[in-house]
């Protein structure tokens, strides 16, 4: 191969995403199987089977960010979907019928692949898709962890589901291709190894943000997230995160901050919850204009799915133990660790109208974390994709009050 000029990680990411979507569209055109999956599902099985997979959440976020969500939302609400349901789902139900988006098209699925570790909402959402499209539904139900750690009987239940899913994938593939297709356990091991490596590289890259100032502007995190959602099982994903990590390390070594020279990182905060995709610019500027850098969020850990190769129950526990699926105590401890490890001054909580699972623990979490760490916090109302549920004016007012608290706390610290 010809020696190419070295691409930036951002260019690599763009290529990765373009290739992700194009190869899925091509696969569909070639009559190959395509699945729709939730964002933190055990993709290892699909990757092993060589099945192309796209992630409606990822597409909905892209549609939201490009301000195209409303027409899909209107379509779904016109069919009777409540305005109170998850806006990713409302966008996706609209897309499933309209089948055309300016932002990003995806192929229609041959089956559905859903994992409840991110919420129960996806179970109902995907149940509807399977019904409307009249296609098979494979689900992984990962019991919510009311205990601090994942319990053994829950891991066994998950293992049973993985075994069941493998059988169903074989059946679906065999039927689709008209010849016997078997699950290749050796390949599975290789995929597990790659998935762990990519996860680890993602984690390592995001951890460079611990440097002060942080070389990472956290809103970039939202971009790279698309890569980890879609390419956790691939070498290409690994390469993107490796390049990203090296760039961040180089910046950190040079003492460079998140923005242009002269734009000082005055305060370091984390973001709790999903981004406000239709208002990425507003939410970003509201912070940046005040010298507040969003250094990290709960996202990096959510896709850090690590387990011993070949250990199915370990894999199950890794998928089950993510932030969304963990109890309050565990969540508070995780964020407390993040606050300490990333030397944070504050936390921005997004009370996301779409996400009851994160919302209904958020008030208490906010109180407990404030008490444990002493950092400033702010909570604002918004939504991940519904443009009607956010007010820039209100957001800016809250961030301004947040800034005042951050400054006061800094002043207090300086005075001792």
């Amino acid at each position: 191969m010809e020696q190419k000029e070295k691409l930036s990680s951002k260019q690599m990411l763009n290529d990765l995403m373009a290739d992700h979507y194009q190869s899925a569209l091509d696969a569909k055109a070639d009559g190959k199987l395509v699945a729709w999956a939730t964002s933190i599902a055990p993709q290892e099985l699909l990757t092993t089977m060589g099945i192309n997979v796209v992630y409606p959440e990822n597409q909905a976020a892209a549609i939201g960010a490009r301000k195209e969500a409303q027409k899909f939302i209107d379509h779904s609400e016109g069919r009777g979907y409540s305005v109170d349901l998850c806006s990713y789902a409302r966008v996706n139900f609209g897309y499933q019928q309209l089948k055309k988006s300016e932002s990003q098209d995806i192929p229609m699925p041959d089956f559905i692949y859903s994992c409840s570790n991110i919420c129960h909402t996806v179970l109902k959402w995907y149940e509807n898709l399977a019904k409307e499209l009249n296609i098979p539904l494979i689900i992984f139900d990962l019991p919510f962890n009311h205990t601090y750690d994942v319990q053994d009987h829950a891991a066994k239940y998950m293992k049973g589901q993985i075994e069941e899913a493998i059988k169903r994938l074989e059946t679906i593939s065999t039927k689709h291709y008209g010849k016997k297709v078997e699950f290749d356990h050796d390949k599975f091991k290789a995929v597990m190894e790659q998935s762990n490596a990519t996860s680890q590289m993602w984690k390592d890259a995001t951890m460079v943000a611990k440097a002060k100032p942080s070389p990472l502007n956290g809103f970039d995190l939202f971009n790279y997230m698309a890569g980890i959602v879609t390419n956790r099982g691939t070498k290409a994903g690994y390469e993107v995160f490796k390049a990203w990590k090296e760039e961040l390390e180089a910046k950190a070594a040079a003492g460079l901050g998140p923005w242009k020279p002269g734009e000082e990182e005055k305060f370091r905060v984390m973001w709790d919850g999903i981004a406000c995709w239709p208002y990425l610019g507003s939410t970003y500027k509201g912070l940046k204009n005040n010298g507040i850098n969003m250094v990290t969020s709960t996202y990096p850990d959510s896709w850090t799915i690590l387990y011993d190769n070949g250990d199915i129950e370990g894999m199950a526990k890794a998928y089950s133990g993510i932030y969304c699926n963990s109890n309050l105590q565990n969540g508070v401890d995780r964020i407390t660790r993040i606050v300490n490890e990333y030397s944070l001054d504050g936390i921005v909580f997004h009370s996301n109208r779409s996400c009851k699972l994160l919302d209904f623990r958020q008030f208490e979490q906010q109180r407990q974390i404030e008490e444990k760490t002493g950092v400033a916090t702010v909570l604002f109302d918004g939504d991940q994709t519904d443009p009607r549920a956010f007010s820039t004016e209100q957001y800016n007012t809250r961030i301004q009050a947040f800034l005042e608290t951050l400054e006061n706390k800094k002043e207090e610290r300086r005075k001792g």
Binding site: Y81, S82, L85, K124, P143, G160, F360, E364
Partner: protein, 377 residues
């Protein structure tokens, strides 16, 4: 007829004053009471441990304290439960609470409850959604065992297999008698009007199930012996989590609309699944979950909610379906657009109403029910 009226009056008395009824139940039986949050929970184990399960399906309470934990867009029924845990209404009678994470809201409520309501034992469970596979049956067994140990600690007594068998029989009898009752409404649509029907079924949540079953059997027998009533009003099925406040049910009665059958979590969804005959009690309990159908709280790969409603409309001879959607209930809100299209395709009239438990006025609902009855004319 006198017999029927007096039997109904007993149920009404219990169901109209849940707090008082629970207190009396505790006093009369000397047994400990365990609060059961909405949806399927291991009531049989509570009963086997010599305690009595009591329903917790929200209620009329002023929402104040729970706003410390919950945003405005939280299901009113669950929020009311949380409020009554915080304001210590439940502590007056309950010796423990069981809840299971059937939806995202319940996952959080359980976690918040651990912080906000510390003066009552909490048993937190999970029921599997991939519920038909063998691993799920095993998983439920393990969950039941854990719950049983916690319940034994509250009861101060070990539960034997014989205790479980006996409790299972009590519950199977209760469920069979309840299934019979809902069918008998068609015979006396005036006497067993929407409100009465609701209260008779609701009373089960605040009585010893064995005693309730005996009384219900007596009522069923009396209805069977009585002459059928002539009824010229409209007959509807109701769909949803539950239908309350009572004023809303009264609006059905005022407009001569009979609730001929229900697809409600608070009612038929609890008792319409008959248990299997083989296996241990744990297995039989688990199979009731595996065998459940068209229940929005339990994943259904075939999504037969619409089909079930259409079948029910035929079976009960209903004129239409009234959807009482509990506002902010995700599982219900996801099902509605799908079954709505199926019902419309089958030419079955549907009235959709979003309800909340703490509604100040039901005026607009009265208009809708009346208008719906007018369109059925």
């Amino acid at each position: 007829m006198a017999d029927i009226k007096s039997l109904i009056a007993e149920f009404e008395k219990v169901a109209l004053n849940p707090a008082k009824s629970a207190a009396e139940l505790k006093k009369e039986t000397g047994k400990k009471l365990i609060g059961m949050f909405p949806y399927h929970l291991p009531e049989e184990i509570v009963y086997a441990a010599g305690m009595l399960p009591v329903g917790m399906w929200g209620g009329q309470t002023e929402i104040k304290l729970s706003n410390k934990y919950l945003q405005s867009f939280c299901c009113s029924m669950i929020k009311a439960n949380f409020e009554m845990g915080m304001n210590k209404t439940y502590q007056k009678v309950l010796d423990g609470v069981v809840m299971a994470a059937y939806c995202d809201t319940l996952k959080c409520i359980c976690e918040d409850w651990k912080v906000a309501v510390t003066d009552m034992p909490l048993i937190a469970m999970y029921y599997p959604q991939n519920r038909k596979i063998a691993a799920a049956i095993d998983y439920m067994g393990a969950e039941f065992k854990k719950a049983q140990e916690q319940l034994e600690a509250i009861a101060g007594k070990k539960v034997t297999e014989a205790d479980l068998e006996a409790a299972w029989e009590v519950y199977e009898a209760y469920r069979a008698e309840s299934r019979k009752f809902v069918k008998l409404v068609a015979k006396m649509p005036k006497t067993l009007n929407a409100t009465v029907r609701h209260l008779v079924i609701k009373a089960a949540w605040f009585m010893d199930k064995k005693v309730y079953t005996e009384k219900l059997a007596a009522l069923n027998a009396a209805i069977e012996a009585a002459p059928a009533e002539e009824f010229n009003g409209k007959k509807v099925l109701v769909e949803g989590i539950m239908v309350e406040p009572i004023a809303l049910l009264d609006a059905f009665v005022e407009n001569d609309v009979c609730i001929i059958g229900d697809d409600l979590s608070h009612q038929s969804r609890m008792f319409r699944i008959e248990g299997r005959k083989e296996g241990t009690v744990y297995e039989k309990m688990a199979y009731r979950i595996a065998d459940a159908y068209a229940d929005p709280l339990l994943l259904d790969e075939k999504k037969e909610h619409g089909k079930e409603l259409i079948d029910m409309v035929k079976e009960y001879g209903a004129d239409g379906v009234v959807v009482c959607a509990m506002k902010f209930c995700d599982p219900e809100e996801y099902d509605y657009p799908i079954f709505k299209e199926e019902l419309e395709a089958a030419n079955i009239p549907v009235l959709y109403m979003e309800i909340e438990q703490q509604m100040e006025s039901v005026g607009q609902y009265k208009t809708r029910i009346q208008a719906f009855a007018e369109t059925l004319a």
